[in-house]
Subunit: 422 residues, 2 copies
Amino acid sequence: MNITELSKAELAGLCADLEKQYEGLKAHDHKLDMSRGKPSAEQLDLSNDLLTDPFPYISANGTDSRNYGVLEGLPEIREFFGDILGIDPNNIIIGGNASLSLEYDALMRMWVFGSKGATPWSKLPKVKFICPVPGYDRHFTMLEELGIEMINVDLYDDGPDMDKVEELVKYDPSVKGIFCVPLYSNPTGACYSDEKTERLAAMKTAAEDFKIFWDNAYGIHHLYDEGEKLANILDLCEKHGNADRVFYFFSTSKITFAGAGVSLVAASADMIKEIRGHMFCQTIGYDKTNQLRTLNFFKTHGGIEEHMKRHAAILRPKFELVLNRFESEFAGSGILSWSKPKGGYFISVNTLKGCAKETVALCKGVGLTLTGAGAAFPYKKDPDDSNIRIAPSYPDMKELADALDVFCICCRLAAVRKLLEN
Amino acid sequence: MNITELSKAELAGLCADLEKQYEGLKAHDHKLDMSRGKPSAEQLDLSNDLLTDPFPYISANGTDSRNYGVLEGLPEIREFFGDILGIDPNNIIIGGNASLSLEYDALMRMWVFGSKGATPWSKLPKVKFICPVPGYDRHFTMLEELGIEMINVDLYDDGPDMDKVEELVKYDPSVKGIFCVPLYSNPTGACYSDEKTERLAAMKTAAEDFKIFWDNAYGIHHLYDEGEKLANILDLCEKHGNADRVFYFFSTSKITFAGAGVSLVAASADMIKEIRGHMFCQTIGYDKTNQLRTLNFFKTHGGIEEHMKRHAAILRPKFELVLNRFESEFAGSGILSWSKPKGGYFISVNTLKGCAKETVALCKGVGLTLTGAGAAFPYKKDPDDSNIRIAPSYPDMKELADALDVFCICCRLAAVRKLLEN
């Protein structure tokens, strides 16, 4: 039934019915949360051996991981990640517990010091960043803190609207960068195609110091055995003579423990040298015991892949529960569209225009917390007030089913009310 | 024998003798290192249970330390440190593996954002910092990276030359801060007296946003049971109406594992609010598993004190070996003075003027690496070329004795040669 095609009288009847159902939800006194992309306790339990398993705290080359030193991280963990991501270990520096801090540091260095003699961004009258939307709120928060102007560009299933991106970067030297989550993007699950990745690497930019912040947060977070592949942007940038264009980030935050993982930044040889120089002023080194602890837990590339399959076995039914419910409730309804991710942590939905805030508020009113409407847009402003990020990972299956009951009624009610207004 | 009072002929004889001894050192083919303030493996072994002991990874209030969240750190670890340092846990934020990064972040925030509406330091024509010397090279590195002008002020056994400090801050609003290691200062072991600490808290500063970077790196690192006491600078700043003046840093880097500890920043309520606001843009949170792991290891304030006594039992003989050797070799010689620390990681020596670089080079020539001469001064420039930092913690007793053999001969040789020049 396409709800958008109903008559006013039919809508009024449906609305009365939905309002009754909504009142009925109050009796459940729900305390449900589908707001944050947190792993469930069951997923975290997969890594509990990390907490107690003895591990060789002396590295292969004799370095005592318990002591100071080795700013760039131990060779074996750089090799391990290099193997997983197809990156030369010499182009990798290991960071602390999460890659977000490495992203912040990289941005801050461009802001304060600049790169290769170019004017530090803080000294420019205006700095702009391209933000594929919907996107990751924490990226927008950092840009907003620095007063960097954010320009929305639509994110499609295979990456951003590249025609738009190429046009924006071509003549305006104040457009300095773009934040990308290239695989299973937060929140739509979009995966950048080889073609779009290469266009990002190859495009002409007016800014000589244009930077791609390549946050590969979900690089191995497949829900199905046949995972999506990602082109190697470092290689592509080098191929097109733009080797210094990309800062590549990855971490084990959603592989082992969220917020107690091991992170990395990868870049060209020149950028690694610059990063290392600034990092020397900032720290004597990151936690090397956690580097060896993590390596000992996985042992091999195959070990981490097997581990990710165990995550997938927990996450997949949750994603399928949501997607199947959306299919049965909203297919052909005209009031909701949704992404169908093959990995990552989120599903992105679009309500009728002007219904996202109302849907989130209605859910809140009966005990279901969702991510705030607009959160996936710069300045928290969704121009259509239509996008909602669904995070199915944290609740258990029963809670998730309850949350979906709530969401479906609230989403319908908001839509029907909106249609009645018109 | 006061070498400075010898005749030229006596000096020439001594020099010939020392040169023969120096040649003799070459046969040993030493590979000795007294350069870095690293704990020894024996000290690190004291904390090995940290690596494997099971610990309750769910915090007292039910937070799962393995998951995201709790930007400011878990309540129990903030209480634990609050108890040790005499600071309200509400005024403490827990950081990552080392406090140096927290210091860098605090400095960078003043640089980029400023505090309480004051002009960010990066927008000012000139920013100056007071640097008590000799001091910690890593503090100077950070200031130098930002182009902050460093002003040397003498550090005495009870703290900096406060008359000089008060004069510098009184009329010049570009003097924005001071870096202090208030207890067992790196490298002299100086301990700030209550009086000097209070003067720092009370002094009138032309800059409204003057900041004391209070790096209490050795706050409980006593060599003897009767440890030096440190006045509470946070309380004193508040008492004198300058509550926002101090950023207080501490970590367990040299308590558990160097570079894999737990760090903190403490400050006034207003400053904590500002720090938290910026930190939110930078990270979702630091490693909470390491917070609970560390707390579980010590259990109580008494537990960490006992642990520090075990460190002292290892370090004390090393410090005493060095100090006794200096006493027997150089007392009354007129060519070397040295500090007599009661805690911390370093001993600071002063050679005859103009002899530090030569002494370090002579040592290097026969296989003993020392911290570079001048390292304890801004821009690595010791105006007297006299100061050398001795780090006795890392070598074992045999290596330390060998290193002292080398050092004593090289120090004498450099001095005698210098005296012959005059």
